[in-house]
């Protein structure tokens, strides 16, 4: 595997809110084209870290580089080079499929011809032709989620952040969704994903597990299972990640 080029570099990242330390000396790298799973119980500090990586918030101290730009000082440049899909569904319900694609294409600065071209590609790839002029509110959840992901990578970002992208979706759609993730990673787009489903964690190239603001494990799923002598990531998770406060 030739995944040596770093797209995310984090060294001693600390984020404090008053006396509360949400992120405590995080250090990790993510390589180009990698599917990086970011796990942790609720309140472990995942959301804070993602907000910093996506340029929404700046670190208290430490070095954070995303797509080669510094998260403290070059947040605007980071935003141009990443895609983002959050757990709440992020398309506009009262706009059509085509209008949503055009809107996000425009926001990310694609030209009109690029938007037309990529819209056509996207509709064909997802077999969405019959839905192109339907309102999002008329689509089933699974299709919305697929479209949402496709829109998040429409501008060919270096990295795409997926914050619990498959919440509330049936297993078949989840499987299809992960196929899309694999295809995208093969195109060289790095996937940074958080999830609550431990079977999904098994699909990642590498995973990190956070607990109480720290990263307590970081390796490939198979190495972690070997290390803790268990048969699934779920068991690894239960062994090391206590919910915050308990």
């Amino acid at each position: 595997m030739t995944m040596k080029k770093k797209v995310i570099e984090v060294e001693n990242l600390v984020k404090r809110f008053g006396h509360f330390t949400a992120n405590d000396r995080l250090s990790f790298d993510v390589y180009e084209g990698e599917i990086f799973g970011f796990l942790g119980a609720n309140g472990a500090g995942k959301t804070t870290a993602i907000r910093i990586l996506s340029g929404l918030s700046s670190p208290t101290s430490g070095k954070v580089k995303v797509a080669g730009f510094d998260a403290g000082t070059q947040a605007e440049m980071i935003k141009r080079n990443i895609g983002y899909m959050c757990q709440k569904f992020s398309l506009y319900e009262d706009l059509t499929v085509r209008e949503n694609i055009a809107l996000y294409g425009g926001i990310y600065g694609l030209s009109r011809s690029e938007i037309t071209e990529r819209t056509a590609q996207l509709l064909d790839r997802l077999r969405f032709r019959e839905y192109e002029n339907k309102l999002i509110s008329d689509l089933p959840l699974g299709l919305k989620q697929k479209l949402s992901f496709a829109v998040a990578v429409l501008h060919e970002p270096r990295i795409v952040f997926l914050d619990e992208p498959t919440g509330g979706v049936d297993p078949i759609t989840r499987r299809q969704f992960w196929e899309m993730i694999y295809e995208t990673a093969e195109r060289g787009i790095t996937i940074f994903v958080t999830t609550h489903y431990m079977d999904e964690a098994e699909y990642c190239d590498r995973i990190s597990i956070m607990n109480d603001g720290r990263i307590v494990a970081l390796d490939t799923p198979s190495n972690l299972k070997k290390q803790y002598n268990v048969s699934s990531v779920e068991e690894v998770f239960i062994k090391i990640a206590r919910p915050a406060g308990s």
Partner: protein
């Protein structure tokens, strides 16, 4: 800029696809104007008028006949003395009493001048105004006819209008300015706070914030359509108040429009402020309704004159932006005054706008941290 325009286009789509939004935007103002407009124009058909004729001569009979045959009025009673006026007005059927002084006809011919009193029931201000205006117009018409037929051109009947119960007719003059003030704060503050919190609630705000759009662009993109639509609303209300009420703008219409823009801007910044402190649409609606709509209706002088309020409310109304705008718009529309008389109120609105924008920007940043 292209990004921004695409974003504004999307916002317009949201508005035009949601019937409820469209209804609040245009349905309510038009309905309010029509309801008030038609309620008034129906009342003036066959309004009860009592006649107190102390002279009973040829001229008074001719004039009262002309008034009663105009189609606007219907005689409700013939009075014999001044004492009966109060009684007959209190009964409610009679909207006005027309009083011819003693020796009306003789005085008119001898002195060239006679006076007629119109005493109207001011507790129904809209009707009272219309009744007195119509009667005055009929009397003036009569003067012209007389001038044509009589040898002496200087013959003149002078109508004297008196209002019982509500001498200054507060609410009528307040109505159109009041509706504009209310609608603008409703559309601008309520709708923008709701549309911004909607993005928060649905999670799209997060996606927008992660995008290369700057927060300023997001906020401007969200409020620009509402600014434009609110302004169109002002034009629609002014046009309708002119067509339905016959209420023209006495002062400078440009000044009125500029002041309206300032007030829209103030309301929009209030809406943004509300959206930064509320995380759900319901919260935004609640704050807008209880915090803005009710005080606008109750404390701005729209319905209840500030002069009649207990002192506490008077002071309380000092912090309500609508109070200043009502004063401004009333001065321009009804009194026809210029900026010289309303610069203080204008300054207060500018100050308020600046403060609201300042706080919103700070809040918005804090939330991002």
């Amino acid at each position: 800029m292209k990004r921004f325009l695409g974003f504004v286009k999307k916002e317009f789509r949201h508005i035009f696809r949601d019937y409820r939004t469209l209804f609040i935007l245009f349905g309510i103002p038009i309905a309010e104007i029509l309801i008030f407009g038609y309620a008034i124009s129906m009342d003036i058909k066959n309004a009860g008028v009592a006649i107190l004729d102390l002279s009973h001569d040829e001229v008074t009979e001719k004039l009262s006949g002309k008034i009663l045959s105009s189609g606007f009025f219907k005689k409700s009673a013939d009075l014999l003395s001044y004492e009966e006026i109060d009684q007959v007005l209190k009964k409610g059927k009679t909207k006005a009493v027309i009083v011819f002084e003693e020796g009306f006809g003789k005085r008119l011919i001898r002195e060239g001048k006679a006076s007629l009193s119109i005493i109207a029931d001011g507790s129904e201000p809209n009707t009272a105004t219309l009744v007195t205006n119509y009667t005055t117009a009929i009397v003036n018409d009569f003067n012209i006819e007389m001038a044509g037929s009589a040898l002496n051109n200087a013959l003149k009947i002078v109508p004297e209008v008196r209002m019982f119960y509500n001498p200054e007719l507060k609410s009528y003059s307040m109505f159109v300015p009041g509706v504009i003030t209310l609608i603008l704060i409703l559309v601008s503050a309520l709708m923008t706070s709701v549309t911004i919190t909607r993005e928060k609630e649905f999670g799209t705000m997060e996606v927008l914030l992660v995008s290369p759009l700057k927060p300023v662009q997001i906020i401007l993109g969200k409020v620009t359509p509402y600014f434009i639509l609110s302004f169109i609303n002002v034009l629609v209300i002014l046009a309708m108040s002119w067509l339905v009420f016959g209420l023209p703008v006495k002062g400078s219409i440009i000044l009125l429009l500029v002041e309206s823009m300032l007030y829209i801007l103030m309301s929009l910044s209030l809406g943004i402020l509300i959206s930064t402190v509320s995380s759900t649409m319901q919260q935004a609606i609640f704050i807008s309704l209880v915090g803005l709509m009710l005080p606008t209706i109750l404390l701005s002088g729209f319905i209840f004159p500030i002069e009649n309020m207990p002192e506490v409310y008077d002071y309380l109304s000092l912090i309500m932006p609508p109070r200043y705008f009502i004063t401004i718009i009333k001065s321009i529309m009804i009194k026809g005054t210029g900026l010289l008389y309303i610069w203080k109120e204008t300054l207060v609105l500018i100050l308020m706008t600046t403060v609201f924008i300042g706080i919103s920007v700070r809040k918005f940043k804090v939330r991002l941290e």
